[in-house]
């Protein structure tokens, strides 16, 4: 895209075809020209007190860390809930304090916390806030004030969600999909205050996220630095950007369904409530349609999967490229795959509803669109592998997480092809096979990316490296442990063990399932505990970690090229960076070092065979 700007000038040294002998021949005074800035430098509010610097802070980096910490805290609660569930499933004799109601509540809260309040908030709020302005060369998000409000809305949303543990009746136990009519009817745990607080919390989350999302989008669209064309953006930015677009279009459906359900509960409307007989008596409700809720929920719910997955795709592409010292294979293909996956994700939602009694042609349509998504996704997997192929792989902790991600993602993706087909889905629906599938593909796989990203960017945020040794222990426990948890679950699904069951009672498959459940639970306890290795690693490395210095991974993208590491408010000191190339110029033939940063002007690398970007 070099002709995007500067079309009257000649950039002779930028293309590999124009290399002409020695001495930087072909370099003219125009070689390094980048047209002037369109927009005046950003006007920033600099905090002076502790409160404006660290609490109600408008700096996207601090907000990113705040999002990260709060999301992680919420995620640990989700982890503890999963422990309790596994305790009940594997060793019910030890879980005497748990009733079936508790179990349903833990299932529900675990699901909602992990999907929305942990993964979404962490990828978009955490990594998005920290990385977008740095990676596109902006001083901050475009609306720092709104960005700050976004975090505090999230804070309130989490507070409301956790408050539901302490209200009469406890949190809602209707499953994370919150299907009516059971979600708001007596008999379901938490059908009183629990479901109301859940809906309120979701509405607050959506409102807060919208504020942040507008920031991410406009920063990417309108606040890039000089020379930063769309096709020179790191794939991390592409992933987070596209995921934010999805979120802006999908969360409205969640907001509307949460609002309508709370009205059903609070005012006695019947949006989702059909005529219901309870103990021989007709309830006040009538004439509503529960299927409508399913449509609204999954119109949000399916894009939500990609809201989590696309940032993971983007981040992993950058990590693989940096740590295998090779440019990303098929950059443009990767960008288009992200965009196409994002667009398709709005046309597949009803594959979550095959068993709701839909018309066969409807199922046929959604099965087709679902399976089409496998094409761009598989392209991405091939490109990751081809990036690794013959690369100068540094087998450090970050790379281990990357490899773990690819394996896990392929695994979860293949079971997704099973479930995308109506005829295969119907018998497997509501079994442990589904649990295994989505935990592999949108639980463990994105988590691997988060872990890799933490080890990769920790030096940037804190200026110190994490311990590699502890990191390797952490990785192997998590990777092998996660497989020990979810691989047997596929089998459990095939023998027909239903999900969301408190216990198996005297079912015929109890014999083979019991031992496996004990094994899975044990693995789950170990994997969960292994995560505290990371926390220990972070806490100790803050103090005694090896000082990272500038650009410890020899990466090319802008976030490593700030004048101070860790970057300060305003990111770039006096002068904004000027970008001359994409962030993937690794191991370029003829170059002195195996990386050429994005800000390296063409005249300095005139004799190398750099990609034309």
């Amino acid at each position: 895209m070099s002709e995007d700007y500067n079309d009257n000038k000649t950039i002779q040294a930028q293309s590999s075809e124009t290399i002409s002998g020695e001495g930087g021949a072909g370099v003219t005074s125009d070689t390094d020209y980048v047209r002037p800035a369109e927009v005046a430098d950003q006007d920033l509010y600099h905090g002076h007190s502790f409160i404006t610097k660290w609490v109600f802070c408008q700096d996207a980096k601090v907000i990113g860390v705040q999002y990260f910490l709060l999301a992680t805290f919420t995620g640990i609660i989700g982890l503890i809930l999963s422990w309790l569930m596994r305790l009940q499933l594997g060793f019910p004799e030890l879980a005497g304090f748990m009733t079936a109601e508790h179990y349903y509540q833990f299932v529900t809260m675990h699901g909602m916390i992990m999907v929305v309040y942990f993964l979404t908030a962490l990828f978009l709020g955490g990594f998005g806030n920290y990385l977008i302005p740095l990676m596109v060369g902006a001083r901050d998000m475009v609306f720092p004030y709104v960005n700050m409000v976004s975090f505090w809305m999230f804070f309130v949303a989490v507070g409301v969600l956790l408050a539901s543990f302490f209200v009469p009746g406890g949190p809602t136990g209707s499953g994370w999909t919150l299907y009516p009519p059971q979600a708001i009817l007596e008999g379901t745990p938490g059908s009183g205050m629990g479901i109301i607080l859940m809906c309120v919390s979701l509405i607050l989350f959506v409102a807060g996220f919208t504020m942040g999302g507008l920031n991410y989008l406009i920063t990417v669209l309108q606040a890039r630095t000089r020379g930063m064309t769309l096709m020179r953006m790191p794939l991390t930015v592409w992933g987070i950007f596209t995921a934010t677009v999805l979120a802006m279009l999908a969360f409205p459906a969640l907001l509307v369904s949460a609002l309508m359900m709370s009205l059903d509960k609070l005012l006695g409307t019947s949006f989702f409530m059909p005529t219901i007989l309870k103990a021989g008596e007709v309830l006040e409700y009538g004439g509503g349609t529960p299927i409508l809720f399913q449509h609204l929920f999954w119109f949000f719910g399916h894009p939500e999967v990609y809201i989590v997955a696309l940032p993971a795709f983007g981040i992993i592409s950058d990590l693989i490229s940096v740590h295998s010292r090779k440019n990303i294979f098929g950059y443009r293909m990767m960008v288009w795959a992200i965009v196409i996956i994002g667009a398709l994700s709005f046309f597949v939602w009803a594959h979550h509803m095959y068993v709701s009694g839909m018309h066969p042609w409807f199922g046929f349509f959604f099965a087709t669109t679902t399976l089409i998504i496998a094409v761009p996704t598989a392209m991405k997997v091939y490109n990751w592998i081809l990036t690794l192929w013959r690369g100068n792989i540094r087998l450090n902790v970050v790379m281990l997480w990357c490899l773990g991600f690819i394996v896990t993602f392929v695994n979860g993706g293949i079971t997704g092809i099973f479930l995308g087909n109506v005829t295969v889905d119907v018998p497997l629906s509501d079994t442990y096979f589904v649990i295994a599938h989505f935990h592999m593909v949108m639980g463990i796989a994105p988590l691997m990316v988060i872990m890799g990203a933490v080890y990769h960017w920790f030096p940037l945020v804190t200026g110190r490296m994490l311990s590699e040794k502890l990191g390797k222990w952490h990785f192997w426990f998590t990777f092998l442990g996660a497989y020990s948890i979810y691989f047997p679950m596929h089998y459990l699904g095939f023998i027909g063990v239903p999900r969301r069951y408190f216990e198996m009672y005297d079912s015929p498959y109890v014999t083979s399932a019991v031992g496996m459940n004990e094994f899975i639970s044990t693995a789950a306890f170990i994997v969960g505990a292994a995560q505290f290795i990371l926390i220990y690693n972070i806490v100790t490395s803050l103090k005694i970690g090896k000082p990272a210095g500038k650009n410890p991974w020899q990466a090319n993208s802008l976030e490593w090229l700030t004048p101070t590491v860790p970057p300060e408010h305003g990111n770039w000191g006096d002068k904004l960076p000027v970008v001359h190339r994409w962030p993937y110029d690794f191991s370029v033939p003829g170059a002195k070092e195996d990386f050429i940063t994005q800000t390296t002007p063409p005249s300095e690398v005139a004799e190398t065979e750099v990609e034309k970007t």
């Binding site: 700007y5 079309d7 369109e38 989008l217 459906a253 509503g288 449509h295």
Partner: protein, 236 residues
């Protein structure tokens, strides 16, 4: 549409030129203020909210077994002893659309640095919006007086009341928020905050007349949504 002048940048012709302009460095939408771009994208998201509401309404109306009430009877108003269908709604719609016109003029005078005219027109817009909300409150109280509730409806399907109060309420909230901001902006215009670039109380960012255009975008959107709500509730 004329292209904005960007120093050092030449727009390229044709579709491939459009793609190149879009993918170029710094900005995708050349010369578009950050706030304006933000408002457009917010409105896109808001469009999805209202679409979800209206699609739910269609689905709910199609699925309920009880007959839907006749809008020309339910929404009729007695004028001089004769029930006139849709009278109030016609006035409400007229007022709201007119306020869109005054808003557009306010933006024009703002960019011409005509502080007084701009301020008065914003104030007129705010009053239009206030009138609309007032008439909506009147209509709500009339329906409630006749026994329509979110959970029941003497004229037919209870979902009529549910959807009507929810969707017009959600739209009315939008209008009310717009009115509040219009009053604030009218004050800021009269006080000259946009002329001198006074920093905002919350955001500490410099004031600029572009803010009026951004609020205008929101206001026109709220009017446009009303047209759809009007069509779906009162004409279907």
């Amino acid at each position: 549409m004329s292209e904005p002048k960007i120093e050092g940048y030449k727009f390229k012709p044709g579709y491939s030129g459009m793609a190149a302009d879009t993918a170029s460095d710094q900005t995708m939408f050349k010369g578009v203020h950050w706030g304006k771009a933000m408002m457009w994208i917010f409105l896109l998201s808001d469009t999805f909210i209202f679409s979800c509401f209206l699609i739910s309404y269609m689905k709910g109306r199609a699925s309920t077994p009880v007959e839907w009430p006749n809008p020309s009877e339910v929404f009729a108003l007695n004028a001089f002893g004769v029930p006139v269908p849709l009278l109030l709604i016609a006035i409400m719609t007229f007022v709201l659309i007119t306020s869109s016109g005054t808003m557009a003029l306010a933006v024009k005078y703002g960019y011409e640095r005509n502080r007084k005219m701009c301020g008065w027109l914003i104030l007129a817009t705010a009053l239009g919006g206030l009138t609309f909300v007032g008439m909506q409150a009147f209509e709500w109280s009339k329906l409630i007086h006749e026994g329509v509730r979110p959970w029941e409806n003497p004229f037919g399907a209870p979902q009529f009341g549910s959807f009507f109060f929810m969707i017009t309420g959600f739209h009315g909230t939008h209008v009310s928020i717009g009115v509040i901001f219009l009053f604030i902006y009218a004050y800021k215009t009269f006080a000259g905050h946009y002329d001198e670039g006074k920093r905002g109380w919350f955001t500490s960012m410099k004031g600029d007349y572009v803010e009026i255009e951004i609020l205008g975008l929101y206001w026109h959107f709220v009017d446009l949504v009303w047209v759809f709500i009007f069509a779906f509730f009162y004409l279907w």
